[in-house]
């Protein structure tokens, strides 16, 4: 049966062979475009996205290989250099130290700021990934199954949501790592990450639940069920790929918020602490020397603000690109 609507967009190029090649189709002129490729196409054209992506790449590089940016040791302290102001001449000279000055202990602030990126990115990224896995799992469960499972999970999540974030984190962290104690770098870092996950998963679960609820009513999900697909297949092939976008967006924005929250807790003395190097610790250390040595606070605070801002901007750009209604 031939009909006009079967005419192909590529028809003007060459008439299609009557017997199609079985192994590989003719050279693919039109690359299949999914929502994600469309989003990527959209994103590349946004200055906001490009700037935040470049900044985030820089921060990730700092976190992964800080040696690229400084040869100084962030833990080496020399009291002779205590509270030396920034040496702006050193900014353009390779191998020199003291670009941002030296702190009370005489450690290089520039090196510490660079090394501080690792803790922030590590905490933010792990907490968001953990939240997405845990919250996503429970969100799918309650959205797809509904009924009692949904009610129980929602009420259980409300317990955590009812707790103000900073208060909750203070309670958890000061219980498991009291302010006077001196936990190892690994222990305190994972504790902070777990605290963020414990307090954050219900909001991720809610977002996922809402997305799953609206997706599971769509016709193609019914079509798969009518074909006899098992729940696992329906969830992973049909529901999840179409319901994950909102969580990705919120995750990106939350990443920035978590970097800020990590600094807050470190500043308060319950989060990360020595020997971990982090922006929050540096800001906390500087608070008594604000007037004498403002550079102790200014540089880590600036890095923190820029990092948070880039993740929030990235999240905004990704949301705009993934939401077809805003296009």
């Amino acid at each position: 049966m031939s009909s006009p609507e079967v005419a192909t967009p590529t028809a003007e190029a060459a008439p299609m062979p009557v017997t199609p090649a079985v192994v590989e189709p003719a050279p693919r002129k039109d690359k299949p475009r999914s929502l994600w490729t469309d989003a990527w196409y959209e994103l590349r054209r946004k200055p906001l996205f490009v700037i935040s992506a470049i900044l985030i790449t820089l921060f990730v590089l700092m976190a992964a290989v800080p040696q690229l940016f400084t040869s100084a040791d962030p833990l080496a302290a020399d009291l002779n250099r205590s509270l030396t102001p920034p040496d702006f001449g050193a900014w353009f000279q390779f191998g020199k130290q003291g670009q941002f000055g030296f702190d009370l202990q005489g450690a290089d602030i520039y090196a510490r700021t660079i090394y501080g990126a690792r803790a922030s990115i590590l905490v933010g990224l792990s907490a968001v990934i953990g939240n997405m896995l845990l919250g996503g799992f429970f969100g799918i469960l309650s959205g797809y199954l509904g009924g009692w499972t949904d009610t129980l999970l929602a009420r259980f999540g409300d317990i955590f949501l009812g707790l103000p974030f900073v208060l909750g984190a203070l309670v958890i962290l000061s219980t498991f790592a009291p302010v006077q104690s001196n936990p190892s770098a690994f222990r305190i870092t994972s504790l902070v990450i777990l605290t963020f996950i414990a307090l954050g998963w219900p909001s991720f679960a809610r977002i996922m639940r809402a997305a799953v609820l609206s997706t599971k009513q769509l016709d193609y999900v019914h079509a798969a069920q009518a074909l006899g697909a098992r729940p696992g297949r329906v969830i992973f092939r049909h529901v999840l790929p179409n319901a994950i976008a909102p969580m990705v967006v919120v995750g990106t924005i939350t990443l920035g918020a978590y970097i800020g929250a990590e600094a807050t807790l470190s500043f308060l003395g319950v989060g990360l602490r020595q020997p971990v190097v982090s922006w929050g610790i540096m800001i906390g250390d500087s608070r008594q020397y604000m007037e004498a040595a403002p550079y102790m606070m200014a540089f880590p605070a600036a890095f923190l603000a820029i990092a948070v801002l880039s993740f929030v901007m990235l999240g905004d750009a990704v949301r705009d690109a993934l939401d077809p209604k805003l296009r």
Partner: protein, 335 residues
């Protein structure tokens, strides 16, 4: 007539209406489908018509086992589909497939056409060995009139009619015997409707399919159906061959429906008796006693309120009609 392939007996689906915040009480029932019986013969097309909200789509969902019926039976080749164990049910599901109404929402936007049409083979891996699947999918695309080269494209790269063809290819993949078409053309342009219906017709001859064709468009149903059932408020009010229904309707509701069909010929139109129904369709949560149509019927008597009319052959009706006062009346050609 050929053998009966699908029997539906007294199928009932009531949706509970719940109220309350924490402990939800059931305060009523929406009687979406309320005792529908029908037979589908091999190779025939059974059209089901009725206005919005009369339970057509719920009936389709019940037949597909997407909703659990409140009571009643669906028998496929003599076996009750609803009381089989899950493994047998999956095997049986192969033989009854669904074509959905909206081609824009019935295809997963994240999957290529090849994945969509090939999914039945993934779900029932014993139907086709893995290396044959790509070829089979291309054959299916060819059968429904799509270019087999387009196997790697995504649904949004196709028009509505083409998408509906993809949906039909998916339904054909497992070589079913019965296809339930839930308003398969109502979302399409009129010109595309004709193409899709012709395709369905041609596939029926080619593969000896039986269709249950649900629609609200009477002319579409007349074109494709061998027999027609008319539904009103969850009940079947009249069943017959297409001539029975279109030329010799005996139920007042069918007559009213038919009189509303637009007639293209202006000279005929002038002589056409239009039956205008008063009022709205009653709520399916609280249907009228006795005959459900009585509140809008011009023939209603006392007996209609007390005794629900059975769907049966009557002295005044050569085919089953659920009206105490069934009377033949040719509304379409009335002059």
């Amino acid at each position: 007539m050929s053998e009966v392939i699908l029997e539906v007996r007294d199928l009932v689906k009531h949706f509970p209406i719940r109220q309350g915040v924490l402990f939800k009480r059931v305060i009523g029932q929406i009687k979406a489908v309320d005792g529908v019986s029908l037979d589908l013969h091999k190779g025939e097309t059974l059209g089901i018509v009725g206005e919005s909200g009369c339970g057509k789509s719920t009936l389709a969902k019940l037949l597909m086992n997407l909703e659990k019926p409140t009571s009643g039976e669906v028998r496929y080749q003599g076996r009750d589909v609803l009381r089989l164990n899950p493994a047998d049910q999956r095997r049986l599901r192969r033989n009854i497939q669904l074509v959905m109404q909206d081609p824009y929402t019935s295809l997963n936007p994240r999957m290529t056409v090849g994945d969509i049409v090939g999914e039945p083979f993934d779900i029932h891996p014993d139907v086709a060995p893995k290396r044959d699947r790509r070829r089979k999918v291309q054959e299916l695309l060819d059968v429904v009139g799509l270019n087999p080269e387009h196997i790697n494209r995504y649904p949004h790269q196709f028009s509505g009619g083409q998408r509906q063809r993809i949906g039909i290819a998916r339904a054909l993949a497992l070589k079913p015997e019965v296809i339930v078409c839930d308003e398969p053309v109502s979302a399409l342009d009129v010109s595309i409707q004709a193409q899709v219906m012709n395709l369905l017709d041609q596939l029926q001859n080619e593969f000896n399919l039986s269709y249950i064709f649900i629609a609200h468009d009477l002319s579409v149903v007349r074109h494709i159906a061998d027999r027609v059932g008319v539904m009103y408020l969850g009940k079947m009010v009249e069943v017959g061959t297409d001539d029975d229904i279109y030329v010799r309707p005996t139920h007042p509701y069918t007559q009213a429906l038919l009189s509303a069909v637009p007639v293209p010929d202006p000279t005929v139109r002038q002589h056409k008796a239009v039956i205008r129904l008063e009022g709205d369709v009653p709520s399916p949560a609280n249907p009228p006693s006795g005959c459900r149509f009585r509140t809008r019927c011009w023939k209603a008597q006392e007996i209609c309120a007390t005794e629900p009319p059975l769907l049966q052959i009557r002295p005044t009706s050569g085919h089953p009609s659920a009206c105490h006062f069934a009377q033949e009346k040719d509304v379409v050609h009335a002059g």
